[in-house]
């Protein structure tokens, strides 16, 4: 098909569209949906009995703040990824809070290792983390998938990766409020591990989650 003919056809098919909101506004909508949903999950599991004590612990607060920041920045990056005029650095932005989160937990692991030796870094099974994070992150994940399906079909793998990271990070932050597991190595392996796993799975099935096939009538057209 000739380009000029394509232009005529596109112009003749034009219909009014509703503009999507900016990424920051959409992030606010996502938070508005996801935070109450996560609060419900926390309420259903019941708050951990030592929560008041933990909230006065700086390490706990920094860790929670890093998880929440990863969630918010991850979702913001996912929403930016679908827009063609957004710069590439925004898409890589979640790496910063994620690195802060991991770095902080890593430092705690190092402290434990120096005080107790390898025995302090023993990894045991924690079957609760993965399903609890999945439950906590489910509604946020559904919300971001719905938003991404309405977004552009650009950088979709990256968008799904960041979106899943954001949803799972929110789930992991919620998990700390009802699950009494404070060993840094366990948090890294089971909680950050779950976040990474969900992100990678979402990245791998991004075509299924967000239609990645460009709509095209160029090929086979008269």
């Amino acid at each position: 098909m000739k380009t000029e003919r394509l232009v005529e056809r596109l112009a003749s098919e034009l219909t009014p569209v509703q503009r999507i909101a900016r990424p920051a506004t959409r992030l606010a909508w996502w938070l508005l949906i996801s935070v109450p949903a996560v609060c419900l999950v926390v309420w259903a599991f019941g708050l951990r009995p030592d929560l008041a004590e933990r909230l006065s612990d700086r390490a706990f607060l920094v860790e929670e703040a890093a998880a929440l920041l990863t969630a918010a920045v991850g979702i913001y990056a996912a929403l930016c990824a679908g827009l063609p005029d957004q710069p590439g650095w925004k898409v890589w932005l979640p790496m910063a809070p994620m690195a802060l989160w991991l770095g902080f937990l890593g430092q705690q692991c190092l402290d434990v290792f120096l005080r107790q030796g390898p025995e302090g870094l023993r990894i045991t099974s924690d079957a609760m983390c993965l399903p609890a994070i999945a439950m906590g992150g489910l509604i946020p994940a559904i919300a971001i998938v719905v938003m991404l399906r309405r977004s552009g079909k650009f950088r979709t793998t990256h968008a799904c990766l960041c979106g899943a990271m954001g949803a799972a990070a929110l789930g992991a932050a919620a998990l700390r409020l009802f699950h009494m597991e404070d060993a840094a190595i366990m948090v890294i392996v089971w909680q950050l591990g779950s976040v990474a796993l969900f992100s990678l799975v979402a990245g791998a099935i991004s075509r299924m989650l967000v239609d990645n096939q460009p709509d095209s009538f160029l090929h086979g057209a008269p």
Partner: protein, 175 residues
């Protein structure tokens, strides 16, 4: 583009027409080694993606970075597709239609034909099969075949002729 979002077909058509040349120029600059067809594909895919993404445009932001951003992604897809196709396809535009170069595996074809012929000969009546085997496969003369088989030369001629006709029918029928 703001007008296009509200459904103004005239202004939208004018906008698309106006961006064709800058898009071609930008595509040639971005992919200098691409051929003209690939460049035109990149331009068309960009226009199509722009059409499908017009709800994403924020009128508060400049339009050209939005358009060139689309071209970077969709043009990149086109170039990757072209490269992949180039790696597994051979252009036949410059090869004459009768050229043996177009045959993909002539030896295999010959093997298949020989197998089909052998199978067809095996299905012939006994007299015709023996006549064909002696006169065509073993390339004996009619006199030699007559001596070996005990058939008269005339009978051999008739059997061979009928055998060839039957083979032709069998082979054409199997095609």
């Amino acid at each position: 583009m703001r007008a296009a979002q509200q459904g103004d077909r005239v202004l939208y058509g004018a906008l698309l027409t106006a961006v064709i040349r800058p898009l071609r120029r930008a595509a040639r600059a971005r992919w200098p080694r691409a051929d003209a067809a690939a460049i035109e594909d990149a331009v068309q895919e960009t226009l199509l993606a722009l059409h499908n993404s017009r709800h994403l445009y924020d009128p508060e932001r400049p339009f050209m970075p939005f358009l060139f951003g689309i071209m970077r992604f969709r043009g990149g897809d086109v170039m990757r597709r072209t490269r992949r196709a180039g790696a597994r396809e051979t252009s036949i535009d410059d090869i004459p239609e009768t050229s043996d170069a177009l045959r993909t595996d002539s030896d295999q074809d010959k093997g298949l034909e020989a197998d089909a012929l052998r199978a067809a000969i095996a299905r012939l009546p006994d007299g015709q099969r023996r006549a064909i085997e002696m006169t065509k496969l073993q390339e004996l003369s009619l006199e030699e075949a007559s001596t070996v088989s005990g058939m008269s030369v005339a009978a051999l001629k008739v059997a061979t002729h009928r055998g060839v006709l039957a083979l032709r029918k069998l082979l054409n029928g199997s095609n």
